[in-house]
Symmetry: C2
Amino acid sequence: MTKPRSRRGGGRPTIADVARKAGVGAITVSRALREPERVSEDLRRLIQAAVDELGYLPDPNARALASARAEVFGVLVPSLTNSVFAEVLRGIYDSLSDSSYRIQLGNTHYSGLEEERLLQVFGPQRPAALIVAGIDQTPTSRRLLETAGCPVVQVMETGPDPVDMMVGFSHFDGGKAATEHMIEMGYRRIGFIGARMDPRSQRRLAGYRAAMEAAGLFDARLVTTTPVPSSVTLGRELFRDALAKVPTLDGVFCNNDDIALGVLFECHRASIAVPKTIGITGFNDLDMMEVAFPSVTSVRTPRYEIGRRSVAMALAAIAGKRPQEPVVDLGFDLKCRESTAR
Amino acid sequence: MTKPRSRRGGGRPTIADVARKAGVGAITVSRALREPERVSEDLRRLIQAAVDELGYLPDPNARALASARAEVFGVLVPSLTNSVFAEVLRGIYDSLSDSSYRIQLGNTHYSGLEEERLLQVFGPQRPAALIVAGIDQTPTSRRLLETAGCPVVQVMETGPDPVDMMVGFSHFDGGKAATEHMIEMGYRRIGFIGARMDPRSQRRLAGYRAAMEAAGLFDARLVTTTPVPSSVTLGRELFRDALAKVPTLDGVFCNNDDIALGVLFECHRASIAVPKTIGITGFNDLDMMEVAFPSVTSVRTPRYEIGRRSVAMALAAIAGKRPQEPVVDLGFDLKCRESTAR
DNA sequence: CTACGTTATGGTAGCGCTACCATCTACCTC
DNA sequence: GAGGTAGATGGTAGCGCTACCATAACGTAG
């Protein structure tokens, strides 16, 4: 008359099985697994033996329900194919692979509405932490983040008024530094070429504009942008447009490296000398920019490090040790290469 | 003397609150939400009104515990930065964004051991489906997949003996087709350049070798590989090595497009004419291959479609409608471009 | 020797949902 | 009109864990 083992559960061992085998209470097994220091050495060993013998693995769903907290990091990025976010993700994953946290990834497609929807999906699950790209959440998203009841890290940028914590750098300063470098190298009719034009791109453009205006070089006709998603192909096309608009163009600051690569290829194709006739600067400094011919000047951004740091801050907050300074600026690094070496 | 609302839960509305407000049983609310067709029109409306008014959102953890099934797709890829997998992921995400499934992503770093660890983490959660890259799982991983109790889709390749279902294409055939094309275009001393050399790269190499041997052109010295992770930089270096080893080299079939791009840049830098002196073929056909100068011949692989199809098959299996044919070969498409147009 | 922390362990009562089975009401069928 | 069937609804009993509180055992102070 033994009660049928676990009608629904499929028969894998539960904490009660372990407790029985070890001759202790279920709660002690639970403790031994989560806070070993609160259980005596002897019992701990006994319980570990039972766990090993039965092949017991705690049920994360039951755990989450009972403790009102899932061992899950929710991560929201605007794009999966943009290698910039891929590197942030890599940093996040590498920092979390030793822990028992799972990662739930959402793709917002650069849409505030989609971000809201995903936060609504993530929220009820009570994640351990949320990492979101960008600082321009909609009011609804912001409220959802504020009421999530877990640490929140906004990544990629820094800015005033964090929801909770922030790790990133100033895109405005990056755009400004890149442009100033080109001016310094003697370029004058420097175009800005940008696609997608998400908030970060906008701030890079603002940095470009500030530098150009400070040098008395700004001209609205130098700016060529489109809301269309960025790609190498698009870089080529936008460059053609820019050149048609301003034939005297002598340099371009590209919104990102994909665009810059498109420009570079088009220069090859049209036999335009780089850096002599046209100077090129990219943004992000993907691996290939250094290898390209000529090598391309770019603003190196700490993507991987942003991922790592965001997890470190979240874990600290979970452990109750909130960082002194909730906003971390990791800076950037202008890599001057052949494409602007006039 | 009302009992304190939800000591632990934080006070958000539960299914019982909705049931009370709508004047029905809790189970009817549950049904109205999950199988609306089994509840009468009237009650459905009543319940929906109560749900909206209270802002009720079901607790996914409680749901998962009670039903022994989480609304989660577990996805395992070997790399986050390799844009090939990024596109597969994009396909998966796009196919799942209308559903209530969450996605839990694991990064195996091309390691069988890490794959095992991740499957061990994913398993106890009882995911609705598992999508894993590759068909060369370790025996342990294979057993974990077989006993996961949910649909499993192996993606990127096809092969005999699927765990459950498969969507991909033949890397061997792809490598063979690319090599045959180069032979046809008149190249003779065609090198193979490959990095990482995961199982799929190995099969592309095997395809290359088969084509070369069939033409009586194979020479072991033509093959240059390394287990080091692939990158554009590495492409350049391996090409230099290959050229030093076989100065009469007149073409290269590259393991992937990153390598091909590195080769192309090095040719520019060393003033080697492409396609005249050296022909180049890549693999995957990333967006930029068409834009490169000269444009680069490559094997277009249906990455995005693999992602979409894998989800479609998994969802069908969840719904009890297993596809007739569990192995789907999506093929590939050789894109002949300037880099091999001798 | 009593009072009182302090530490180690356990029992009970949920967490919020759904599987399972029971019930109840039409609506047939013969 | 008895019996059967299908469809709609609800009650009960968990799912496997942990929060909370109780208890026991052991010092240590007064």
